[in-house]
């Protein structure tokens, strides 16, 4: 049988300074008209490589297509001439990418860039412009007649992805490849973009190849799914099949690691709060980033702050830590106000409150060894520990977070992402704090690594009696971890309560939207949710 697109036994190597990396080995899959195939994998699984091979985007060298064929309508495109492949690109097979801002040329208008897709394939200019208008209208750009002559930086993240989609669909391609199209977007925007893709697929009957790391996205849109690990396909089947009855151990592990399924935590008993925030505000000129936030954190409690980008959740963390000066309100740590505290007193309190940042790649100084990074706490606060004991303490801390203590003289770039975040946690623990603020501490990590780090944080809470202020955008993650949840939007707290109450009985419309938009990994549950979401949209 002839498929629309068929990848057969594809192997690609990358020749790097560290030797040859087998990016994909013997990968085989196919895609038909009107269906959606998802390639699911974590970072480094090689999930994007076959798409790059199809689009002729692999640089050779360092890349090398070792074996295999890619059949488009029965013809091997790897054997085609450069000109023939160029003709396929955009006209028959189009692609959209993860980060639309960097994938749109900043110095040309969006109208030019979309029309260029058509003029490059022979459409006359005036007609291309006409069609660009149509496309902008179709993908839902408001005020498109004027926006057509503006530049990418003048659009929001979700709109930019819509522009990319408009560009990709300009020539009515037979296949659309979407590489992590919603990863950088907020959940509510993600839901809209996925919906748009599905509608457009239904209209045009194109085949959709979706590359993603997110089981929820798979459940939402995919007909079939291919699971990749370390350059190989470990499992394939319909989305429901793979979720309900995974065969390969890796798939099982991946599905098990997806958050949002565990037991929800019981509220922590009533002690005196360790942190009490009252009416905390932060304004930058006329813009209010944080609007009188009020909340408390009890000892041994995890309070999650959930919100989309621009909700003010990171500003909240920064003002508590005095990285930014609050413009109003108070934040009492054991009765002492952090906002008005004198520098000397604040210096002592630094030991009690620590922070774990979002991206461990950037929060660790690349020029300091792990030992230097962790022991810096003792340099700054010399009263904690005599110098002779630093080494043993660092060893103990590394052991505590599950790292090999003998690696303490290595540099951060020699560790993987998850390991780096463990180093960052060890650094925070070095001062023996009582409250740790985690700002999107696991969002940059793969799902399975995420689960491990969350486990680590939970264990440390039990052993050391820590409190967490856990800032996140990922609702399912919070569901398994937090005792209480605070929902923020546009700088304001819209709702807060025990985790069970927020998840099972949300009161505010925004919380309901947020819950409805966050995808569930089970395709059947997700189908239900989608119905509920449509309902919600109609009533709203």
């Amino acid at each position: 049988m002839n498929h629309l697109l068929q990848v057969k036994d594809l192997s690609v190597d990358f020749h790097t300074a560290q030797g040859t990396v087998h990016a994909v080995r013997g990968v085989t899959w196919h895609l038909d008209r009107g269906e959606t195939l998802a390639i699911l994998g974590e970072s480094g699984s090689g999930k994007s490589v076959s798409a790059s091979a199809i689009m002729n985007l692999i640089d050779c060298p360092p890349g090398e297509i070792v074996s295999g064929e890619i059949l488009f309508e029965g013809r091997d495109i790897l054997k085609m001439s450069e000109d023939e492949r160029r003709d396929l690109n955009g006209r028959r097979i189009a692609m959209i990418f993860q980060d639309p801002l960097s994938h749109l040329n900043p110095v040309y208008t969006v109208g030019f860039q979309i029309a260029e897709m058509m003029t490059a394939h022979g459409t006359p200019k005036s007609k291309a412009r006409e069609r660009t208008m149509e496309l902008l209208k179709r993908v839902g750009i408001p005020d498109y007649e004027n926006k057509i002559d503006t530049y990418p930086h003048q659009f929001s993240g979700g709109q930019r992805q819509r522009l990319m989609i408009a560009m990709a669909l300009a020539m009515k391609p037979d296949i659309l490849i979407a590489d992590e199209p919603t990863t950088a977007l907020d959940v509510t925007v993600q839901a809209q973009i996925l919906e748009l893709l599905e509608e457009l697929q239904a209209e045009t009957g194109m085949g959709l190849l979706l590359i993603t790391h997110d089981l929820g996205v798979v459940a939402e849109v995919a007909d079939r799914v291919v699971v990749m690990n370390k350059g190989e396909i470990v499992e394939s089947g319909t989305a429901t099949q793979v979720y309900k009855a995974p065969v390969h151990p890796y798939t099982k592990k991946l599905i098990a690691a997806v958050p949002g399924e565990g037991e929800m935590a019981q509220p922590v008993g009533g002690e005196e709060p360790i942190l009490k925030i009252e009416g905390l505000s932060k304004a930058y000129g006329a813009f209010t980033a944080l609007d009188s936030a009020t909340l408390t954190v009890l000892p041994r409690e995890t309070v999650a702050i959930v919100g989309e980008s621009g909700s003010g959740k990171s500003t909240l963390a920064k003002t508590i830590l005095r990285l930014e000066d609050a413009t109003g309100g108070a934040a009492f740590y054991e009765g002492r106000d952090l906002v008005t505290m004198a520098p000397a007193e604040l210096f002592d309190l630094r030991r009690e409150i620590q922070m774990v940042f979002q991206d461990p790649t950037q929060s660790l100084n690349p020029r300091m060894s792990v030992f230097d990074i962790i022991s810096e706490a003792f340099v700054i606060h010399p009263e904690i520990l005599p110098k002779s004991e630093w080494k043993s303490k660092v060893r103990e801390l590394l052991d505590h977070v599950g790292l090999d203590a003998s690696h303490m003289h290595r540099y951060p770039h020699q560790f993987s992402g998850g390991q780096r975040q463990r180093i960052a946690i060890a650094r925070a623990l070095a001062l023996a704090p009582r409250l740790i603020i985690c700002d999107e501490a696991v969002s940059a990590l793969d799902v399975s690594i995420q689960a491990q780090v969350i486990q680590l944080l939970k264990r440390l809470q039990d052993e050391l009696g820590l409190s967490y202020l856990f800032i996140a955008h990922d609702l399912p993650l919070v569901r398994d971890f937090a005792h209480r949840v605070v929902v923020m939007q546009g700088g304001r707290i819209v709702e807060q309560g025990p985790v069970r109450e927020i998840f099972e009985n949300p009161k505010e419309q925004y919380t309901k939207d947020l819950l409805a938009a966050s995808p569930h990994p089970d395709p059947e549950v997700q189908a239900e949710r989608r119905k509920a979401r449509m309902q919600l949209e109609k009533t709203a």
Partner: protein, 312 residues
């Protein structure tokens, strides 16, 4: 959820093996780039000449020899110092070039080091202090930048006497803005990085943040610029000497030698050619080394490469 014990974490990705000490890595990287290696060796020889040349060859280089006046090069029957020929007073050119290396190098090195220290210091202050202080420093840099640097040198040297020390001061002043601007721009970027925020959260003092976290990240960039700048200052010094307002005879620099040979261009081209070639080769080596440093020695770059590879 499966029970993921934290102790199996290191299995998630194999860590890279322990790296050899830094100097071994640098040596290996230099070995891999043969052009940069040649440049480094040549510069090493120049530095040796500058350090020991005058001590060993001062007498030979100043001794006049009427029979060797404008002696052509490549006459290997003569003493080796005459192999590149002799000048208008019969002094051996090779010996003079070796001796002149000291003044040439000293002026350039002195000016670059002074400019780098002052510029970096001011840059750190401008980047990490309040707005007003930073504005004053930046305006000052603007004034220096808008001033034709060669002209400034000419005026100052005319006013003071054209000695090595004064030459260094003048050239240093004209180069300060380069370091100042680069340093400030980098500081403004780095101070917003998360590892600086992390240090602040731990209570690190401003001094510690500047000297332990920011300066080490800025430093390689500055050294790379300094290497390039060394070449620039050398050329500027040569130009001044050539115009007759730099170092005065009987002191010698390469630029001065080119100028002195100018009147014999048609009869004895080698008088100007060899010192000029010495300047070219030295600046070329510095440029090559600076290029190599930019790509190979900057761990931030390597760090970025590392991330890029992970994303694939």
């Amino acid at each position: 959820m499966t029970d993921v014990s934290p102790h199996n974490a290191p299995s998630e990705a194999p860590a890279i093996a322990d790296a050899p000490p830094a100097y071994v890595q640098i040596a290996r990287m230099l070995w891999r780039d043969k052009l940069a290696l040649c440049a480094a060796i040549f510069l090493f020889i120049v530095v040796l000449c500058a350090l020991f040349g005058p001590m060993l060859l001062e007498d030979v280089a100043t001794k006049q020899n009427l029979r060797g006046r404008n002696a052509p090069p490549f006459d290997f029957s003569l003493h080796w110092t005459m192999w590149l020929g002799g000048d208008a007073l019969g002094r051996p050119l090779l010996a003079r070039i070796i001796v002149a290396a000291q003044n040439t190098m000293m002026v350039a090195a002195g000016a670059v080091v002074c400019a780098m220290i002052i510029g970096t210091g001011l840059g750190l202050i401008a980047g990490y202090s309040n707005k007003a202080g930073s504005q004053v420093i930046m305006r000052l840099a603007d004034v220096i930048m808008s001033f034709p640097s060669l002209l400034l040198a000419v005026i100052v040297l005319y006013m003071l006497e054209p000695a090595v020390g004064n030459l260094i001061i003048v050239l240093a002043i004209t180069r300060i803005p380069i370091y100042l601007r680069t340093c400030r721009a980098e500081v403004l970027e780095i101070r917003e990085r998360m590892f600086v925020q992390a240090a602040k959260v731990m209570g690190a003092s401003t001094n510690r943040i500047v000297f332990r976290h920011i300066l080490p990240v800025v430093f390689p960039t500055l050294v790379t610029i300094a290497t390039l700048d060394f070449a620039f200052v050398m050329l500027a010094e040569s130009s001044l000497s050539f115009l007759g307002i730099g170092i005065q005879p009987p002191e010698i620099t390469w630029g001065l030698m080119v100028a002195q040979g100018r009147s014999y261009l048609t009869t004895a081209w080698w008088l100007s050619f060899w010192p000029g070639l010495a300047i070219i080769l030295t600046t070329l080596s510095l440029n090559l080394l600076s290029n190599w440093m930019r790509t190979a020695l900057d761990p931030v770059q390597r760090w970025r490469l590392e991330i890029a590879r992970k994303k694939k």
